[in-house]
């Protein structure tokens, strides 16, 4: 019932919470053709953790960018403590105590934490008394339950600590309304927990915290209230105590969702009669001379029909291993074999010929040909086999393949000749998945290397990608999954290798998956820490 009441409140466009700290009303923002925000209204109370939940592209970040002065709304009003305010630039927002920690940190890596923290607030001064600032911060940090080594260079700090530096930076500027954009994306479960406990201590100090996220579990764990956004609208606000995962998914996806939930009913079976080793890596070491190795003595194995995950905090060597397998990076030592064909130190084309294929990490920059047709993007990679013995392209065939991909994968595009850059992120990923299947249809796909295959996708597209990966797995190829999303790795993989500082520190079978055990391994702790 209470949910219905809050819906009525919004449909009237009037918010009647008592003493709203921030009130955003009927905010509209359009980017070219796209209505990013459509009459979005939001009210924030003092001392609450308010989660903004929604799919990618629902308008969460845009709404908050308007509050923090990065964008100016086309129409709509913002009031703080009941008084209408004009926020035209980040400085206006800062003057009202609004600060935002972005998904990608804005820190100078060869400055110390202290220098980074005071840069924004004191950067305009000629002389800064570092010692007194140091003392000031040492007093400020415990009040919020935070501690970082102020004299450490930022580049030496872990991602979790860097994030705390960003938060202290905001607090030091006197922020009382703190916006965190997808704060747990890069964190281990332990680091995320520590962040959540810091957040709850903020609310005790009277701060308002806005958490932008698409992870429902987190929201239920840490927030007081939740506003769900969909297609640029704030659809509904609910109290966390009255919310459930099911309810939130329903609001996120709309009434008629065919969403099946987060669990996959059927795990891929490795019921092949003959067990084959699709990938064998032995004693792999990668590094530049006179520098610590990026990868040291890594050995791993992928059987046919198996999905194997490489997990670790970004920059601990798992990516370099995959690059070496695909032939992008030259190893210093060790052996790599795909389907018992050794390809150590070979080029990309040799890996392709051995049956390895890649779903690249950065779809836009590594995956597509923006100004060529989507059909031509589709055949990039498979072209090595499609036109092996011919001099000229067969455009009839290419467009036929493009048409088929559009149909089979429900890619939203005007036609198969449309420029690839016209596609949205989700459709680009579908195209790249289609490419992997095209590859497997014209030559043997023995090993699929998938980097963050669902990064930035909405729940439905992500599920589509998961299903396809499982399909590739069950078709007999091996899949190597390198995902920053630990939940995704645990969901899809049969086995997981955990990386820390370029070494494999743990190998876990599906039955032993535990986010906290893996989180501890990823940060160099003992599994039973």
């Amino acid at each position: 019932m209470s949910n219905d009441i809050s819906r009525i409140k919004y449909s009237e466009g009037i918010l009647r919470e008592e003493n709203p700290r921030v009130l955003m009303q009927s905010i509209n923002k359009r980017f070219g053709e796209v209505q990013a925000l459509d009459n979005a209204s939001l009210s924030l109370e003092k001392g609450e953790v308010h989660a903004l939940l929604g799919e990618n592209g629902a308008g969460k970040t845009t709404l908050m960018n308007i509050l923090s002065g990065l964008y100016v709304a086309d129409s709509g009003e913002v009031a703080i403590d009941g008084r209408k305010v004009d926020i035209h630039r980040p400085k206006d927002a800062a003057d009202h105590g609004i600060g935002m920690v972005h998904q990608h940190f804005e820190l100078i890596s060869n400055f110390t934490a202290l220098e980074n923290i005071i840069l924004a607030a004191e950067g305009g001064r000629l002389v800064i008394d570092m010692d007194s600032k140091h003392k000031e911060l040492e007093e400020l940090m415990p009040r919020f339950g935070l501690h970082v080594d102020l004299d450490a260079n930022v580049r030496d700090l872990s991602v979790g600590v860097q994030q705390k530096v960003e938060i202290i930076k905001a607090l030091y500027r006197g922020v009382s309304i703190l916006i965190l954009d997808e704060p747990t994306t890069m964190l281990t479960p332990q680091e995320a927990d520590s962040l959540f406990s810091v957040i709850s201590s903020f609310t005790k100090q009277g701060l308002t915290v806005i958490l932008i996220t698409h992870k429902i579990k987190e929201v239920l764990k840490v927030s007081n209230r939740i506003t769900v956004m969909r297609h640029g609208k704030c659809v509904r606000t609910v109290r966390t105590s009255e919310a459930s995962e099911k309810l939130l998914v329903e609001i996120m996806m709309g009434e008629k969702s065919s969403y099946k939930g987060f669990s996959i009913s059927e795990k891929p079976k490795t019921n092949k009669i003959k067990s084959e080793t699709m990938l064998l890596v032995e004693g792999l070491t990668i590094g530049e001379p006179k520098q610590p190795s990026l990868v040291e003595n890594v050995s791993l194995k992928v059987q046919n029909g198996e999905i194997v995950g490489l997990v670790g905090v970004c920059g601990n060597g798992q990516m370099e291993v995959a690059e070496a397998i695909y032939g992008v990076r030259k190893p210093n030592m060790g052996k790599i074999a795909i389907c018992s064909k050794e390809i150590t130190g070979g080029s990309v084309i040799e890996s392709l010929r051995a049956g390895a294929f890649l779903i690249p990490e950065d779809r836009i920059h590594q995956g597509i040909l923006p100004n060529l047709s989507l059909s031509e993007t589709l055949i990039l990679g498979p072209h090595n086999f499609l036109f092996k013995h011919s001099l000229m392209l067969n455009f009839k065939r290419i467009y036929e393949l493009g048409r088929q991909a559009i149909e089979d994968y429900q890619i939203k595009a005007p036609n198969e000749r449309a420029d690839t850059c016209l596609l949205s992120g989700g459709n680009i990923q579908k195209l790249i998945i289609a490419r992997a299947f095209l590859f497997s249809s014209i030559t043997d796909l023995n090993l699929l290397i998938a980097f963050n295959p669902t990064n930035g996708l909405d729940v439905m597209s992500a599920q589509f990608v998961h299903d396809r990966l499982l399909e590739i797995g069950s078709s007999g190829a091996g899949v190597l999954l390198i995902s920053e999303d630990l939940d995704e790795s645990m969901l899809l993989c049969n086995r997981i290798y955990v990386f820390f500082k370029g070494r494999v520190v743990g190998e876990l079978a599906h039955a032993d998956f535990d986010p906290y055990v893996m989180g501890a391994m990823m940060t160099g702790g003992e599994p039973n820490d």
Binding site: Q366, G367, L369, L372, H383, N384, F387, L391
Partner: protein, 360 residues
């Protein structure tokens, strides 16, 4: 390249804020209309130059058309001008499609001319027939150009050196080498300037129409061949892939350094052929100042033709008309030669601006 894109973008933004939002008239013009408007604007601006030089505006434009297109001799001259512009334009365009910028194609034109002249002089005693010697002369120029642009190719492929610097540096070197041969070993004794002896007459290209040599036919054949190479062949697909997204190309197994080298050598070969045709078809002697910066014009020709061979054919022809026509203003109304350059620049800028507006 990045800075050019930035400039383009800022022009776009400027136009957008200044005109497009306020003035529906300009945004309403599309396709052909906008180019027509650009040409009219250019004509109006250029009229002021003619008036300033004391000429009659209407009759000056008449003279331009008359000189460049109005007679067989005029058309022949225009076609001869068009030949090096077209070949150098194709050379630059083919590189641009694969994201290598051969902006020093003048260097390869000179090197092609040196190789062509050398071959033409060396083989004088053999008394070869025309159908043997003139192809040999052109082949030598292709080798010369490929060699000269192959050096930046190796440097780029091996060390990642920017071809923007190396092709320009090698242009200066080619100028000096030309000077050395024209005023040194190959110098014609009867003339005071640094001009070489003429090559064997059987190395000359035959003429076919109003003084036009067959170079233009060769150039068009090359342009069409490049069209099929780039747009239709598997090799061209790899080149376009590399041009559109080198990172994606690399992950698809394309050997980027090898293709960069090959593409620069191909670009140089085409530019070298332009130099060879200048020697075999027109000048018959090596001299400094052989190319009035065809290589630089080629950058404009290629960009106006959108790096597409068919577009480059059209833009090279338009440039040739403009060059021959505006040169005639030097004689008819004593327009200073530097003003002729400005005259041409105005036309180029207005068309470029029109295209920028159109692509909004």
């Amino acid at each position: 390249m990045i800075s050019i894109n930035k400039i383009k973008l800022s022009i776009k933004n400027w136009i957008n804020t200044k005109f497009l939002q306020k003035n529906r008239l300009i945004s309403g013009l599309n396709g052909f209309g906008i180019y027509l408007a650009a040409v009219i604007v250019a004509l109006i601006i250029n009229s002021s130059f003619i008036a300033w030089a004391g000429g009659n505006i209407i009759s000056s434009y008449e003279t331009m058309i008359q000189v460049s297109l109005g007679s067989a001799a005029g058309l022949g001259q225009t076609l001869n001008k068009c030949t090096p512009l077209l070949l150098a334009g194709i050379a630059v365009a083919v590189g641009n499609r694969g994201r290598v910028s051969n902006i020093g194609s003048d260097g390869q034109i000179y090197m092609g001319a040196i190789f062509a002249t050398g071959t033409g002089l060396l083989l004088v005693p053999l008394n070869m027939p025309i159908y043997v010697l003139s192809p040999l002369v052109l082949l030598a120029s292709i080798i010369g150009g490929a060699f000269w642009c192959g050096i930046p190719g190796v440097l780029k492929a091996r060390f990642g050196t920017s071809e923007l610097f190396t092709t320009i540096m090698l242009l200066f070197m080619a100028n000096f080498i030309t000077d050395y041969f024209a005023s040194g070993p190959w110098r014609a004794p009867e003339v005071p300037d640094s001009i070489s002896r003429p090559i064997a007459t059987s190395g000359f290209l035959p003429k076919f129409f109003g003084g036009a040599h067959v170079g233009i036919i060769i150039a068009i054949v090359v342009a069409i061949a490049i069209y099929f190479l780039i747009e239709k062949s598997v090799l061209g697909y790899k080149i376009r892939t590399m041009g559109d997204n080198p990172d994606a190309a690399k992950l698809a197994g394309i050997n980027i350094p090898l293709y960069q080298f090959g593409l620069l050598a191909l670009s140089g070969a085409i530019a070298g052929l332009a130099g060879g045709i200048e020697i075999a078809g027109l000048d018959h002697r090596l001299m400094t100042g052989l190319s009035p910066s065809y290589g630089l014009m080629a950058v404009l020709v290629a960009s106006l033709g959108k790096n597409k061979p068919i577009g480059v054919i059209i833009s090279a022809f338009l440039f040739a008309i403009l060059m021959v026509g505006s040169d005639s203003l030097q004689r008819s109304i004593n327009l200073p030669s530097s003003a002729v350059m400005v005259f041409q620049a105005v036309v180029y800028l207005s068309i470029l601006l029109a295209r920028t507006i159109r692509e909004q």
